[in-house]
């Protein structure tokens, strides 16, 4: 193998070991598999891959995401010999997001955001992509290095964010959703030991959903996606998941290895995954990306005129061993990069957290914390100091410190560190090539045992704090058990996973909901969750503005906890703008919650208290920052989208108008939205939204009454009046319009009538409409009756008679509940019917047979429930109708029975016959009247009943009594019986009164005769 490579990169031993390895592998392949062909070929190909990647003049630095080993090697590599340019896997345009990195506390995520993307499927928007960064990742070390060493340039070379979305399957569900679903699958898959997810108390703070529906990207992702491969790998390695395998078999051993070995091992593992570990689809996508990256690298080298030896290419190990033809700087094959779409991308930084990263990428929980502890262990063992992005705050502090103490004391340790970092690092495993690495058992850093012991002590302490019964005996048991488990799983030393298992075995007795599980305690012990923060300076202007404006509340908005804001607005009116802002933020979905206080039309805030979580959920604020410069602007935009969107309806536009009053207090915008609502209402064909529109309009009109009605609401009301009046006949006949909607339409018409008249509407339009209504539905018929009553086309008596008729006719009886239901709906627009409703209901309860009454009762409750406030008047009326105490019961009778004696005959026929009967007493009789008189004489029962009811003596000539009771209608008979009872009970007090004061009777007679 020809080697023309840099001495630092290419240890000559690797060539030697490679040759040795090759021979060994051939022998092994021959020994294990029958013909040695397949396995041998695979192993050979893997070794070739390693050789090929090593031979590339641009130094390829293979990494894995969040791998402390990669980070350590990166750190040492860069310190040993800084390159002129670092090409890194990562969306090339994301580099724009890195500006504010120095003001952040990690982990944070670089974000690309496109609020509008017409060239992508519409349900994908807004497009959102995050690439999280943790401090112990190789990419962070590289970024930090480039920031502190301006002579080294950092270039992202992977496909742009736009291409990420372009290359996604366009037909599938929105990308973020898909990711989330698959994550959930992962979680249920691991539910065996991962029940702790649900148990986690709210106090612990679950930040898993921090990234929301964003698409996640990680630099150096290498997960096996081919399930069968993964299953075999896990089974043989005796681990539960891939991360554990990686930590145990790659991460740990390479942590202390030398650079050449590290590279070779990563190449080898990358090659293994590349060849048999991933699905075909992923393989194709990877190849595409690699073409892209190499094209960019060659371009970058050419344009900067840099020799390939002065560059480092940082990429996932899986890409380092790519078999594509376009691989490398020496290839002749070029590849043209496809164009981007016209989508406008915005870039920024959002805070991230370990949990969020784990959730996003489906890592087992606690994974990142373990990586962090390994990183710290490695740093300590190798005596290295990590690179950090120069923090603005820290620099300031250092400045102050220096000013305070000018005499800098040189610490001996620091000197030692400065003197000998490189040799110690390089000698850690110098001389050991890949071959040796593969044949020698992994070494462990000596401090491991001490660390395990400390964990055992700490976990027991933490468990005690969490109300577990744990003692020193448990510490010993955990330590011992961890050792046994490691031995059982063929490990020389317990891994963090073994430790976790041991702790669970020894400590967890019962699962108590609300208590932290031992697994969770272990994770907290190993580092727990860590929440990143984006510094004020790096925030978008909108977020900065919010921070400034909320400063008056004196909250610590940087805190990761929930902050409580107490506002006495009456006492300190200067707090009102802050309150307004909080309401706006809440409306926009930022993490603030009102605990006390409300915002309704016309409400003047006095005192409010809020839970502000902005520090913890910074991302929601940052996301808003992409949409505008101020909260108000974003709010206006959102409201306009709501009202002017393609599928906006009158009710949504009206809601937007209402919200604009509540949150923005801008007359201009409200007017605009209101006019839009009017316009939408005019075009609406159905009455589906009528209930909601009615409620809103009523509230709005009510609100504006006090401050003067603006033109738009007047316009809306008059339009609504005309529109709904026009729709009325159709709605009565249309089966698709429910009685409730119809009632809402009429409610709109009748309650807003006065206002509509002032705007030039006329009642005649309504009268015509009502005249045309021909409902079939019983509920609608009842509604029509109510409407007719209001406009004076129907008398109360007629209405009552109608209902009594319904009850008396056995064929109509089953439909009575429906009629009643419709009638009750009319309560919403006319309280006048309350009394009648109570009366009819009371009658119904008395008269309806059980088989109709009992099934109806639940329905009645359902009908009455939405009436809300109207129930009170109904109940009040009912209270008047019934006796107050037991004492009143014997002498009690219904108010309507007392007040309306003449209408004793309950059916319309009876009413008319009574009228006719009275008239019969008058001397002049027409032809028809005479006929009627004859009829009455033939069937005198009704008149008898009436007379009896009135308590006067029957004055029939003897021959007229003959046919009594012969053919009297059922209803009449019932009425008569009722009357008889009444008179028997009260010993005809009415009769006595009537005899005393005949004037009433005379008036009644006159009245009846008039009809």
């Amino acid at each position: 193998m020809a080697k023309t490579l840099d001495a630092v990169v290419q240890d000559p031993t690797i060539a030697r070991s490679m040759a040795g390895l090759r021979e060994q592998i051939e022998a092994a392949a021959a020994a294990f598999s029958g013909d040695g062909a397949h396995l041998g070929a695979l192993l050979q190909a893997m070794v070739d891959d390693v050789a090929r990647a090593s031979a590339e003049p641009v130094e390829i630095f293979p990494v894995k995401h969040h791998s402390p080993s990669s980070a350590l090697h990166m750190l040492r590599r860069l310190q040993a010999r800084p390159p002129r340019v670092i090409f890194m896997e990562g969306c090339e345009d994301l580099i724009a997001a890195m500006k504010g990195l120095e003001h952040c506390r990690f982990p944070v995520a670089l974000q690309a955001f496109a609020p509008e993307a017409p060239e992508f499927p519409s349900d994908w928007t807004p497009l959102n992509l995050v690439a999280p960064l943790t401090e112990f990742s190789a990419e962070y070390q590289a970024i930090a290095f480039c920031m502190t060493h301006p002579e080294t340039e950092l270039v992202f070379v992977d496909r742009s964010v736009d291409h990420v979305f372009q290359w996604m399957p366009q037909k599938g569900p929105p990308p973020g959703v898909e990711a989330e679903e698959s994550d959930e699958g992962e979680e249920t898959g691991a539910a065996g030991e991962g029940e702790g997810e649900g148990e986690e108390g709210a106090g612990a703070g679950n930040t898993a959903n921090l990234h929301g529906g964003a698409v996640g990207l990680q630099i150096g992702g290498m997960e096996p996606t081919f399930d069968e491969f993964l299953a075999v790998l896990l089974k043989n390695a005796r681990v539960r998941h891939y991360s554990e395998w990686w930590t145990l078999y790659v991460e740990g051993p390479t942590l202390g290895a030398d650079y050449a070995t590290y590279r070779a091992v990563f190449f080898l593992v990358g090659s293994l995954l590349r060849r048999i570990g991933i699905t075909e689809r992923d393989r194709l996508e990877d190849a595409q990306r690699e073409r892209y990256m190499w094209a960019r690298i060659r371009e970058g080298l050419r344009s900067r005129k840099i020799a390939p030896q002065d560059a480092i290419y940082v990429c996932g190990a899986i890409h380092a061993v790519s078999p594509i033809e376009e691989f490398g700087t020496l290839t002749a094959k070029e590849w043209t990069i496809p164009p981007r779409t016209k989508t406008q991308w915005l870039y920024g930084i959002v805070p991230s957290s370990y949990q969020a990263i784990e959730h996003q990428f489906g890592l087992p929980s606690g994974e990142i914390a373990i990586a962090q502890s390994m990183w710290e262990k490695g740093l300590k063992a190798l005596d290295l100091r990590p690179l950090k992005v120069p923090s603005a705050e820290a620099a300031e502090k250092a400045e102050k410190k220096r000013a305070a103490a000018p005499a800098v004391k040189v610490r001996p340790k620091a000197v030692a560190q400065a003197a000998a970092p490189a040799p110690s690092a390089m000698s850690a495993g110098a001389g050991g090539g890949l071959g040796e690495f593969l044949t020698r058992p992994p070494e462990f850093v000596a401090a491991d045992d001490e660390q395990l012991l400390r964990w055992c002590v700490d976990v027991v302490r933490l468990a005690r704090k969490n109300n577990y019964l744990a003692s020193t005996a448990d510490t010993i048991a955990i330590y011992y058990t961890a050792g046994l488990l490691a031995n059982l799983r063929d490990r020389p030393h317990p891994s963090p996973y073994d430790f976790q298992d041991a702790a669970i075995t020894c400590l967890e007795k019962d699962r108590i909901p609300g208590k932290r599980s031992v697994l969770r305690i272990c994770q907290i012990l190993l580092g727990g969750d860590r929440l990143g923060r984006v510094g004020y300076e790096s925030l978008p202007p909108l977020a900065q503005d919010v921070y400034d404006r909320l400063a008056i509340l004196g909250l610590n908005l940087k805190s990761g906890r929930i902050e409580r804001a107490l506002m006495d607005i009456q006492g300190r009116p200067e707090l009102l703008p802050a309150s307004d802002l909080l309401w706006r933020l809440r409306f926009l979905g930022v993490a603030v919650r009102p605990i006390m206080g409300e915002r309704t039309l016309g409400h003047k805030p006095k005192q409010e208290s809020w839970d502000v979580e902005i520090g913890k959920q910074q991302w929601s604020l940052i996301q808003l920052g992409y949409e505008g410069l101020t909260v108000e602007q974003v709010l206006e935009k959102r409201l306009k989208v709501k009202a002017f969107g393609a599928n906006a309806r009158a009710t949504t536009a009206l809601a937007a108008a209402e919200e604009s009053i509540l949150y923005l207090k801008s007359g201009r915008l409200t007017r605009e939205l209101g006019l839009r609502a009017t316009e939408l209402l005019r075009d609406e064909v159905g009455a589906a939204d009528a209930p909601e529109i009615f409620q809103r309009v009523r509230a709005l009109v009510h609100y504006y009454r006090t401050i003067g009605l603006p033109e738009w609401i007047k316009g809306f009301v008059s339009t609504g009046y005309r529109h709904y009046t026009t729709l009325l006949p159709g709605a009565f006949a249309d089966r698709g319009t429910s009685p409730r909607q119809l009632a809402a339409m009429m409610a709109f018409i009748f309650t807003q009538e006065a206002l509509a008249f002032s705007m030039g509407c006329e009642r005649s339009q309504l009268l015509i409409s009502i005249a045309q209504a021909e409902p079939e539905d019983p509920a609608k018929v009842a509604l029509l009756w109510a409407a007719q009553w209001i406009v004076g086309q129907r008398s109360e008596e007629a209405l009552r008679a109608d209902f009594v008729h319904l009850m008396s006719n056995p064929l109509l009886l089953p439909a009575f509940p429906e009629y009643m239901g419709g009638f009750l709906l009319a309560l919403e627009f006319t309280p006048r019917i309350t009394r009648l409703a109570v009366e009819v209901l009371s009658r119904a309860f008395a008269a309806l047979p059980d088989e109709v009454l009992v099934p109806w009762l639940p329905k009645l409750v359902v009908t009455l429930r939405p009436l809300g406030g109207l129930m009170q008047t109904l109940v009040k009326e009912a209270g008047l109708a019934f006796p107050r105490g037991l004492a009143g019961l014997p002498s009690w009778e219904f108010a309507w029975e007392r007040a309306l004696p003449p209408v004793a005959a309950p059916t319309p026929e009876a009413v008319t016959s009574a009228a006719k009967a009275t008239r019969a007493a008058l001397p002049e009789l027409s032809e028809r009247e005479r006929g009627l008189l004859a009829l009455l004489k033939a069937h005198p029962a009704s008149l008898d009943a009436l007379v009896q009811r009135l308590g006067v003596e029957a004055l029939w000539p003897s021959e007229q009594v003959q046919g009594a009771g012969e053919s009297a209608g059922e209803g009449v008979a019932a009425g008569a019986a009722e009357g008889a009872e009444a008179s028997a009970a009260a010993v005809t007090p009415i009769g006595a009164i009537l005899q005393q004061y005949p004037a009433t009777l005379m008036a009644l007679v006159a009245r009846l005769s008039r009809e």
Partner: protein, 416 residues
């Protein structure tokens, strides 16, 4: 100390041996024993593993933890054994590892799980692998007394010759102590708390004092290797709560119901049913579609029960894998003796209903609802994407499903 059951016959029919893989060579016979304990059933495997074992063995264990692992979970390439050992317990490997490790420490092991999750089977396997004797069992009931845990007296002998070691009747646990073997306690939480607490001194001091005896006989010490495996039913939680002192002396290992891994569940069901069939010398092929129907129905039932809002709407049965085996066995026996040697979907449905209905009006109502809702969803467009076996297209379930549904309806009808 390992009492090898002297074998008299080896005339096991070859067919049965073929149906039950790896269970063929037996030390005891199924002719003399209805059910062989694990150590006899797998005697050959255990002997092989003991011979191949190179590792350090804790106490007087017969196998090292790694070999026990291989015995229970099956061998993998890493064990470097030159024959395959079949998997006997299907479940999370880390769970078994934790159990083995617990036994190697000085704490007892308490296996908790829903009924039918294989707690007792795991306990038996562990005991068989560790000491070659899984029969030191105390069954916890409401009537269990302290005597049954410690010792009692042979009254006749006491009257005749006074209290001595000879007139004492040791409990299975005491026997295990004396021999340095594994004592098992089934359904620990069924017996009352004060009886449970008799275990505290056994587990911590590792001896039982017998005040009736004097001198050296007065204390009975446990030999190295003695440990306890107890099982407890998670449905019994709260009936007899374990005392804190006892909890401390046990490590708890919770065995979940295998719900999210259909493949392994299928393996378990097949494995166990074949074993049962071999015992009954039944030759009956289980049609793969029947198995799929069974698994699918159970999966759907579990889903339905999980989403049910109250206990009223849930079946009393835990719907564990053991119940599936029960259903399949029942169907098999029925079709073997009363059917035409083939298992029909109707039989399966009848067995399923028969097994799951425990409370007559309630369970029937629940199953009735499920059965008809299930019908609707099956004919509808709902497609179960995850874990659906490929050979069965989801949209047209085939005639077996229809027969199954019809059989179920008939069986449900017979309850009314």
């Amino acid at each position: 100390m390992a009492k090898k059951k002297d074998t008299t016959t080896t005339s096991e029919p070859e067919t049965a041996a073929a149906a039950a893989p790896a269970a063929s060579a037996t030390t005891g016979t199924s002719a003399s024993k209805l059910r062989l304990p694990a150590e006899e059933k797998y005697a050959e495997e255990l002997a092989y593993l003991a011979a191949a074992d190179q590792d350090v063995k804790p106490f007087s264990w017969r196998l090292s933890p790694r070999m026990i692992r291989a015995f229970i979970l099956g061998s993998s390439a890493q064990d470097k054994l030159d024959r395959t050992i079949n998997q006997k317990f299907f479940g999370d490997p880390s769970l078994v590892e934790r159990a083995i490790v617990t036994l190697a420490s000085d704490r007892g092991l308490l296996l908790i799980g829903d009924p039918g999750t294989g707690k007792s089977w795991l306990a038996e396997l562990l005991a068989a692998a560790i000491c070659g004797n899984s029969t030191h069992v105390v069954q916890g009931t409401a009537g269990t007394t302290e005597d049954q845990i410690k010792y009692s007296w042979n009254v006749a002998m006491v009257i005749a010759s006074g209290q001595s070691r000879e007139s004492m009747i040791p409990s299975p646990i005491m026997t295990a102590m004396v021999r340095g073997e594994v004592g098992r306690f089934e359904e620990l939480t069924r017996c009352s708390s004060d009886v449970q607490d008799a275990l505290i001194s056994i587990l911590s001091e590792k001896y039982v004092a017998v005040p009736e005896l004097r001198g050296d006989d007065g204390v009975i010490y446990a030999k190295p290797g003695f440990t306890m495996i107890a099982t407890a039913n998670s449905r019994d939680r709260g009936v007899n709560e374990l005392s804190t002192a006892l909890k401390r002396r046990f490590n708890f290992v919770t065995i979940p119901i295998v719900t999210n891994n259909k493949r392994s569940e299928k393996e378990i069901v097949l494995f166990r049913t074949r074993e049962l069939m071999a015992r009954n010398k039944i030759e009956l092929e289980i049609p793969p579609t029947m198995l799929d129907i069974l698994l699918q129905t159970f999966a759907e039932l579990r889903e339905a029960m999980a989403s049910a809002s109250s206990d009223e709407a849930r079946l009393e049965s835990a719907l564990s894998t053991a119940e599936q085996i029960g259903v399949l066995e029942d169907a098999m026996l029925h079709s073997n003796f009363f059917g035409g040697q083939t298992m029909s979907a109707e039989t399966l449905a009848r067995s399923l209903i028969g097994t799951l209905v425990r409370r007559v009006p309630e369970d029937v109502a629940i199953l009735n609802k499920f059965w008809h809702a299930g019908e609707a969803s099956k004919s509808g467009p709902k497609k179960r994407a995850k874990g659906e076996p490929e050979e069965k297209p989801a949209e047209s379930k085939g005639p077996e499903w229809e027969a199954f549904a019809a059989g179920g309806k008939k069986a449900l009808g017979s309850f009314k």
